[in-house]
């Protein structure tokens, strides 16, 4: 339509272009399709409303930030008493008596196995892992997107990967009932 041509183009470039990334993030965070769609829909609306605030640089990061914020808004609405995860860096030290990594299992990892294991992690850690492994964002980019210090990102990734390996080993590793 005349007059909205340009904003339509921008919407396509920022939102529609990154729908897969947006939905993927929302789904791994929200853990069900219905909620993930709501989150993405809400994010798309906000993106449209704030389109003129987008500086034109990294459209994917810009939109994913909105998706992620929409997710947390949605989460807080559902759990009004929700508190941000506390960072007990000492408590979650690497267990030196943890079993050696099951390379075969890790190399043949299925999405379902990953899904099950990710379900045992906190949302903040899942968020860091999705942004790192699925979107290939750097520590700096993840820190900016999630508005946390880089050290927090590093800690979440580190803990997340340990916990994932533990969960996977427990659920699907050698000796585990399949």
């Amino acid at each position: 339509m005349f007059g909205v041509g340009r904003s339509n183009e921008r919407f396509e470039a920022t939102v529609v272009q990154h729908m897969d990334a947006a939905y993927n993030l929302a789904l791994w965070l929200a853990r069900n399709e219905w909620d993930a769609e709501d989150v993405v829909q809400d994010a798309a609306l906000r993106a449209f409303r704030f389109l003129d605030r987008f500086d034109g640089r990294d459209a994917r990061a810009w939109f994913l930030t909105i998706v992620r914020n929409s997710f947390y808004s949605w989460l807080r609405k559902r759990n009004p008493g929700l508190r941000e995860e506390s960072l007990d860096l000492e408590v979650h030290d690497v267990a030196s008596d943890a079993p050696a990594p099951d390379l075969e299992m890790l190399r043949n990892l299925t999405r379902q196995q990953l899904w099950d294991a990710m379900g045992e992690l906190s949302v903040e850690i899942r968020e860091a892992l999705v942004l790192r492994e699925f979107e290939g964002l750097s520590y700096r980019e993840i820190a900016d997107l999630a508005s946390v210090p880089i050290g927090t990102v590093m800690s979440r990734l580190s803990r997340g990967r340990r916990q994932l390996q533990q969960s996977l080993g427990k659920l699907h590793g050698k000796g585990a009932s399949r």
Binding site: M1, F2, G3, V4, S7, N8, F11, V15, V16, M19, D20, A22, Y23, N24, L27, W28, E33, W34, E37, D38, V40, Q41, D42, A44, L45, F48, R49, V94, S96, A100, P101, D102, L103, L106, R107, N108, L109, R111, L114, L129, R132, E133, F134, G136, S138, Y139, M154, L157, S158, R161, L164, Q165
Partner: protein, 247 residues
């Protein structure tokens, strides 16, 4: 570098975020340490698997349609003040057509505009969690809720036994009339069923449309206009339409 120190740098190393000096120290330690080598291998294996494209989910088509519909609606609303003259121009255009085709054309245009409104209402109801004003699976709660809000009694039935549970009700507007929106759900798909008193007599057989990725079915019977809309597939939506028609 000790094994414990390596463990704190391992992620940074594997992520390519560790400075060169420390990276070399990690490698030097790992060369002489089987345990740490195994840890690094495990981490790399996990990452490689997670980075496989098969791990990612793709946005379903209907979500893309919803998002586009929402955007178009907002865009249209934004510039609607510019286009107030449009309906007038449209009417003038109609007057230039001969009466026989004019009548046929006008009724077709009306139906098309109504379908657009149905889609807009559906999309709007999905946003901002405004699917229902009254939330209940009990038809004996939803039906009386409309009393006093509408000057007609909408037919409210629950089809949970058939797999289409009633979810709630809502007031809406179509074609300038207040209408009842009765919401059903089929698996993950919300379905809006709009019903209001028809103008003019006679019934019409159900007709299917697709707009913006949504499936619509509409018919006229018992003096009412009936429209169902959902992103649910055509076959399953038709089942609901049939359930609604059989009274």
């Amino acid at each position: 570098m000790t094994c414990n120190e390596l463990k704190t740098y391992m992620d940074g190393y594997v992520d390519g975020e560790l400075d060169l000096v420390r990276s070399m120290e990690v490698e030097r330690h790992a060369e002489a340490c089987d345990r740490c080598t195994a840890e690094i291998r495990g981490l790399k294996a996990l990452r490689t698997s997670m980075q496989s494209p098969s791990m990612r989910f793709h946005a379903p088509e209907h979500l893309l349609a919803r998002v586009r519909a929402g955007e178009r609606e907002k865009a249209t609303a934004r510039v609607s003040w510019q286009f107030r003259w449009a309906p007038l121009a449209y009417a003038v255009l109609l007057l230039l057509v001969f009466s026989g085709s004019l009548l046929l054309w006008r009724s077709a245009a009306q139906r098309e505009t109504l379908a657009d409104q149905v889609v807009s209402n559906h999309v709007r109801s999905l946003m901002a969690a405004h699917l229902y004003d009254v939330e209940s699976t009990d038809q004996h709660t939803v039906k009386p809720w409309f009393h006093g809000k509408l000057d007609f009694a909408p037919p409210v039935q629950d089809f949970a036994a058939e797999g289409y549970p009633l979810v709630g009700g809502r007031l809406d507007v179509l074609d300038g009339h207040p209408v009842a929106a009765i919401i059903y759900q089929r698996r993950q798909h919300p379905i809006n069923y709009f019903v209001w008193p028809a103008s003019g007599s006679g019934n019409s057989r159900p007709r299917n449309l697709t707009e913006n990725g949504y499936n619509l079915i509409h018919w006229k019977s018992d003096g009412m206009e009936h429209w169902v809309i959902s992103d649910l597939n055509d076959n399953e939506l038709r089942v609901l339409a049939q359930l609604l028609q059989a009274k």
